[in-house]
């Protein structure tokens, strides 16, 4: 899922300080799971903002809503009747949600309340780590299910590099070397032969190098 981290509250306060009515809009999808932008976080942020502005002797109305998803028009439409009552919206969905809301309500100021970080997993309660960079052409079949694009700091396709030491990456002693992980996994699987042939260059046009991407599935279209 998509991971996000709440923006410092000072930054959000600075963005909304000139408005009188602000809606805090959460998303009950990915950002709710990583405890950055779900209903709970909406309530906490709205409460903190109300207290801050009350202390500043500024009357500001802070509304709360959390949508099932902010990346689907059907759910965004749920606020169409009330969004006009506000001067701005602080969306604590991922970057996609913030943008989609801004597209749908293009006369409103839609401000981001989180920093969207990566596609990842819940390692343990309260700890999330990156696993996928959405490169557009999955090569996990040849790397023992461990992605060198996401797990190797250099994204190299033939590793490990000289910066790998004792299974750790040179960027940080706490970061495991992605290629060391791949080597160990392939060894367990008895597939070390994979290292005898170099991996050919990847088509990065399917990743961000090809510009913004689009997916269509004809059978799903109306």
């Amino acid at each position: 899922m998509i991971m996000a981290k709440p923006k410092p509250i000072e930054e959000i306060i600075n963005e909304i300080k000139n408005f009188d009515k602000v809606l805090v809009a959460g998303c009950n999808g990915c950002v709710a799971v990583c405890e950055a932008g779900g209903l709970k976080e909406v309530e906490i942020l709205a409460s903190a903002l109300r207290m801050y502005f009350s202390n500043q002797q500024k009357q500001i109305e802070v509304g709360e809503v959390s949508l099932t998803r902010q990346c689907d028009k059907e759910y965004l439409a749920e606020v169409k009747d009330r969004i006009g009552n506000y001067d701005a919206v602080v969306s604590i969905a991922c970057g996609a949600g913030v943008q989609f809301m801004a597209e749908m309500y293009n006369k409103m100021r839609i401000l981001p309340g989180v920093n969207t970080c990566f596609i990842g997993v819940t390692d343990e309660k309260g700890v999330w780590t990156e696993r996928c960079q959405a490169c557009g052409e999955c090569i996990l079949a040849s790397t023992g299910g461990i992605c060198p694009v996401a797990r190797c700091s250099k994204r190299i396709l033939n590793g490990p590099c000289g910066g790998s030491s004792d299974g750790k990456c040179e960027i940080d002693k706490d970061v495991p070397c992605g290629w060391q992980l791949i080597y160990e996994r392939l060894k367990e699987l008895g597939e070390l032969k994979r290292f005898e042939e170099p991996t050919t260059a990847k088509d990065w046009l399917k990743s961000r190098d090809g510009g913004p991407r689009k997916l269509t599935k004809e059978v799903s279209q109306i």
């Binding site: 410092p8 509250i9 000072e10 306060i13 709970k40 309530e43 906490i44 409460s47 903190a48 903002l49 109300r50 207290m51 801050y52 009350s54 202390n55 002797q57």
Partner: protein, 117 residues
């Protein structure tokens, strides 16, 4: 054994039930301070309820600081259910601390008194 009459007790089955929003709402609605009275660490019937509460109190303290409020308005105490006198003592301690800070600025919306000390 008496404790200050201005203390309002909200009963929960375990302090692990106390969420961040509960502490925030208490302050937003005008409480001058909130303390969470949990069991002794290591004695939680549900294993980690009081440890979770401790983290949440610490989180709220941090949050209050970022919005310009005194983090001392929230606190976590640990005591066993048999320690009635200790509970009364904590209530007095918390009340004295909050009295020093003055009333909750949110409730008084700008008519805040100067801090007593």
């Amino acid at each position: 054994m008496t404790y200050p009459s201005n203390i309002r007790i909200v009963k929960v089955p375990c302090t692990g039930r106390v969420a961040i929003i509960h502490l925030m709402k208490a302050l937003e609605k005008g409480a001058d301070g909130v303390f969470v009275a949990g069991c002794m660490e290591g004695d939680c019937h549900f294993q980690s309820g009081n440890l979770r509460a401790r983290k949440r109190v610490a989180y709220v303290k941090q949050l209050l600081e970022t919005i310009g409020m005194e983090p001392e308005r929230v606190a976590m105490y640990n005591l066993s259910s048999g320690e009635g006198p200790r509970f009364a003592e904590i209530c007095q301690e918390m009340t004295d601390k909050i009295r020093q800070l003055g009333p909750n600025p949110v409730r008084f919306k700008g008519k805040r008194k100067e801090k007593a000390a």
